[in-house]
């Protein structure tokens, strides 16, 4: 494109670069600040001396968190939850999306089934009935309460369904002519060429399961079985820091309520920060696939 080099244009460009740079920093500054607090001495943190860089660098807060049995258990529960939830969720998604990606002439009740699934996106029974159903099905206080109720993610199924429909028809026909049935076509032909779509929904499912906290809060009563985000919710947000008594503070000296919370916030977001680079590679196409269609 032809660029015009007027004074106004130069001025705008300078402004634009600065403004967007500032905006980008604004988005991560609070997170960097918490990171800095978590590595700072408690006195400096309380006095408000910490900006974006740790003051009197120390890892004592992390040491304190790492000795916390409940925190480690919660981390383990979360890892378990992600592994189980994502495997089941993606498996179900594939099993739902494949038949529903067929035309009506191949699968007569397709439209009816699609509506059965889509309707759950439009209307919910609400919090209390859902709670009672989970209770009645006897999965309260087990990891299944975190995995099963939300196992079918209709939005992800639709993303995958749309992807399957966009695959070239000839590919599937060739497979059927070679004598393959639906299951081997799905397994050997459709899935291998669907890696980008699968990667997108897998990463979304990982992030979703890791970040989910409310179900843990209401379905799990035993503190030892809480997933990490629910555990963090109870200690960070509910401002209840009962485990850390005044004596503890006096003994440890250098950690404080604030630096320990900061350390836990950082550790709680660490897995997301680790998968983020991979995530970013895929979600652009995934989101566009889901939101804007011709």
């Amino acid at each position: 494109m032809v660029q015009q080099k007027s004074a106004a244009r130069t001025l705008f460009t300078a402004f634009n670069y600065t403004f967007l740079g500032a905006l980008a920093l604004l988005c991560i500054a609070p997170l960097v600040h918490i990171f800095a607090v978590s590595f700072s001495a408690s006195s400096a943190a309380t006095a408000g001396l910490v900006g974006l860089w740790p003051v009197e660098f120390t890892t004592k807060s992390y040491g304190f968190v790492m000795e916390n049995d409940l925190f480690l258990r919660a981390m383990l529960v979360s890892i378990q939850r992600v592994a189980l939830g994502v495997t089941i969720g993606i498996g179900l998604c594939v099993l739902i999306a494949y038949p529903l990606s067929k035309e009506v002439k191949d699968f007569r009740f397709r439209t009816a089934y699609v509506w059965v699934f889509v309707f759950t996106m439009l209307f919910h029974g609400g919090l209390i009935p859902s709670y009672i159903v989970v209770k009645e099905t006897g999965i309260m206080n087990t990891i299944w309460a975190l995995v099963l109720p939300g196992a079918v993610n209709v939005f992800n199924c639709i993303l995958l369904l749309n992807f399957f429909r966009a695959l070239p028809k000839e590919l599937l026909e060739a497979s059927f002519i070679d004598g393959a049935g639906h299951s081997s076509t799905l397994w050997r032909v459709v899935l291998p060429v669907s890696t980008p779509a699968l990667a997108t929904i897998t990463l979304f499912a990982v992030v979703g399961h890791w970040n989910q906290w409310f179900d843990g809060l209401i379905y799990i009563n035993d503190p030892k079985r809480l997933p990490l985000q629910s555990y963090l919710q109870t200690i960070i947000v509910q401002k209840d820091f009962s485990e850390l008594t005044a004596e503890d503070l006096a003994n440890v000296g250098i950690v404080s309520d604030r630096t320990v919370k900061a350390a836990q916030i950082f550790l709680g977001s660490l897995p997301i920060l680790l998968v983020y680079p991979f995530l970013q590679k895929y979600f652009m196409s995934g989101i566009v696939m889901g939101s804007v269609k011709e």
């Binding site: 209307f123 906290w213 960070i236």
Partner: protein, 286 residues
């Protein structure tokens, strides 16, 4: 193949829909749905007469509406500005940073906000003080501030992610239009005014229409992690209200009634917005 998914969805999505019966009952967990007494619309009558209900409804719509408006304008402007960035690496770095908060949970971000907005230790009030502010602001414990903190922090979390859609829309504008405009002597600003903006209108209308379906969702995760009894007056929304009524005060029937009210109104709004989007923007979900 559909069977496992179908069973799960029947139990955990359609099961609760049947549980809506509780809204018309004086429900006790011990007697269950079948043994509880039917009371008709008593629960609805009771809750609609509560003064707090009108307040909660007003808060919900107000907060949600503000989020929709600001949450649309900011990403559109950012997408337009990002589109003017020529350096690929710079653009990508900015994008990486502004998308990030979207992927963190409201528990994490709630923790961050509680820390930075704290009146005594928070960095925001320290900064304000260094600029000469006399008194610290109780952002999360002041009814004048709280709704705006909700709106601002929600926009902060998600504007980056929303820009993706608008950036995608920008790339789909026919480049030939710009070439023609350059030949006609239009500068970059004129091009934006006469080509880019009109080109974005359909997607903007689409996103606005679709977001209207969510008008009663003011953001449970966010509010729940930031509010406290002091700011119930300005920050309590339908979802948090249902949570407290039902799972804290154990008024199952009443809470389900409020939930049902929300679900029905939401369904109407979502169905309406999908219809409009389909009718005028040719949008389909599958």
């Amino acid at each position: 193949m559909l069977l496992p998914g179908l069973i799960l969805i029947l139990v955990y999505s359609y099961g609760p829909m049947a549980g809506i019966a509780i809204a018309f009952q004086k429900f006790f967990p011990t007697t269950g749905v079948f043994g509880s007494k039917w009371v008709g619309l008593d629960n609805f009558e009771y809750v609609f007469k509560l003064p707090s209900f009108a307040n909660v409804l007003r808060n919900t719509v107000f907060i949600s509406f503000m989020k929709i408006v600001v949450g649309q304008i900011v990403p559109i402007v950012v997408a337009l500005l990002l589109n003017e960035i020529v350096r690929k690496a710079y653009k990508r770095t900015v994008q990486t940073f502004i998308y990030l908060p979207h992927f963190l949970s409201w528990v994490i971000l709630g923790g961050v906000l509680v820390d930075i907005l704290s009146p005594s230790e928070g960095i925001v009030n320290h900064l304000l003080a260094s600029f000469g502010a006399a008194k610290p602001i109780f952002f999360l414990a002041d009814n004048r501030w709280f709704p705006y903190v909700l709106v601002m922090s929600d926009v902060w979390k998600d504007f980056g992610f929303s820009t993706i859609v608008y950036l995608a829309a920008l790339t789909s504008i026919n480049p030939a239009l710009y070439e023609a405009a350059v030949v006609d002597g239009a500068n970059r600003w004129k091009q934006t005014l006469h080509i880019t903006l009109p080109g974005m209108v359909p997607i903007v209308v689409l996103m606005a229409t679709l977001s209207l379906g969510q008008i009663l969702n003011a953001g449970f995760d966010q509010v729940f992690n930031l509010y406290s009894p002091i700011v119930y007056e300005s920050g309590d929304i339908l979802d948090t209200f249902v949570y407290r009524l039902g799972l804290v005060e154990f008024q199952y029937g009443v809470a389900t009634a409020v939930g049902l009210f929300k679900s029905v109104v939401s369904l109407l709004f979502i169905a309406g917005s999908y219809y409009l989007a389909y009718r005028y923007a040719n949008y389909r979900i599958f």
